[in-house]
Amino acid sequence: MSLTKPLSPIELSILIAIGSGELHGYEIMKEIALVSGGRNKVGPGTLYVAIKRLLNDDLISEAKDKRSSRRRYYCLTPNGKKAVTAEIAAYQETLKWAASQGLSASL
């Protein structure tokens, strides 16, 4: 698997949102807003630009059985699972480094 560009925060959020199951566009938007307590709102345009790129990079795929003319459901591909795991591992390393510098979220 080779990504054309590193994952953006929105793309990572989408991957995490559909990690638990198949969701359509609006459900992904709501999930991201809910988890961040309404701080990170993703608009429909930004969402589908990101979804297009994730589809192109084979990180997500359309769930064929749930497809309708109005809505498409998306799920993680094996490549997507690897990418999100690698990204989370990188974040964990960064958090460890921050903690070693005496920095944490409680500051």
Binding site: P44, L47, Y48, R71
Partner: protein
């Protein structure tokens, strides 16, 4: 404002996305927007909602257009597609080059004989620079393989504008003028009424020439778009 009105406005705004993206995701974006808009209650919430939506639209349209320009920069072209557009762009380049030489550089030689026409020379210097810049810009786009860019549209218009001038002047006005001066107004000193009639007919001839050429331009434009769409290769899916 009811959410149906918001939906109509948003439906219009998504036309600013690239055509391929709109075809693939337009309906899905609209569906997500509709679901979101349904839950907006109150004027202030609506203003805030639209502020968020407009920023989101502007950002995503720019991002998608930027992505498209990168992914299609080295787009492979089919033989027929390449040949038609190569012909158009090269014709445009040739005509632009002819414009540079005939309208400006040659005029400079002419004007150097009359030093009183200083303002005219300044104007021509500006025009030379402008044509030169357009020429270089066309050449740059051609080198980047941008057949459907503004440069090919520009070349097309310049090409047919020149055809139009040719058509009006040489095919229509010159025989018309010859006909007028030889048969209708043979006198070297025509009367006022004859002059008015001659000028009136002259303008009428120019108008007819322009209308015919504009129609030819329009028909050619439609043909180009249809042919271009029919033979246009698929966009590259991966950057």
């Amino acid at each position: 404002m009811k959410h149906k009105t918001s939906l109509k406005i948003y439906k219009y705004l998504i036309n600013f996305y690239p055509a391929d993206f709109k075809r693939g995701y337009g309906a899905l974006i609209l569906d997500a927007f509709e679901m979101d808009a349904k839950h907006v209650k109150g004027k202030f919430a609506l203003i805030n909602f639209w502020r968020h939506q407009l920023i989101d639209l502007a950002k995503s349209i720019l991002k998608e257009r930027q992505y498209l320009s990168i992914s299609t920069a080295a787009q492979p072209t089919t033989a027929a597609f390449g040949q038609i557009h190569k012909l158009l762009v090269y014709t445009g380049l040739l005509i632009t080059a002819a414009n540079i030489s005939s309208f400006t550089l040659l005029s400079h030689f002419y004007l150097s004989a009359d030093r009183m026409q200083y303002n005219g020379r300044l104007d021509l210097t500006f025009r030379t620079g402008m044509w030169l810049l357009i020429f270089l810009w066309l050449w740059r786009n051609l080198r980047r393989n941008k057949w459907f860019s503004f440069s090919s549209v520009y070349s097309f218009i310049i090409t047919f504008a020149t055809f139009q001038t040719f058509f009006t002047s040489f095919i229509f006005l010159m025989p018309f003028g010859w006909l007028m001066t030889t048969f209708l107004f043979p006198s070297y000193y025509p009367s006022t009424s004859q002059t008015i009639m001659f000028e009136g007919l002259n303008y009428l001839a120019q108008l007819i020439g322009f209308i015919i050429s504009a129609e030819i331009l329009l028909v050619m434009w439609v043909i180009l778009i249809k042919v271009g769409r029919a033979i246009r290769p698929q966009r590259m899916r991966h950057a």
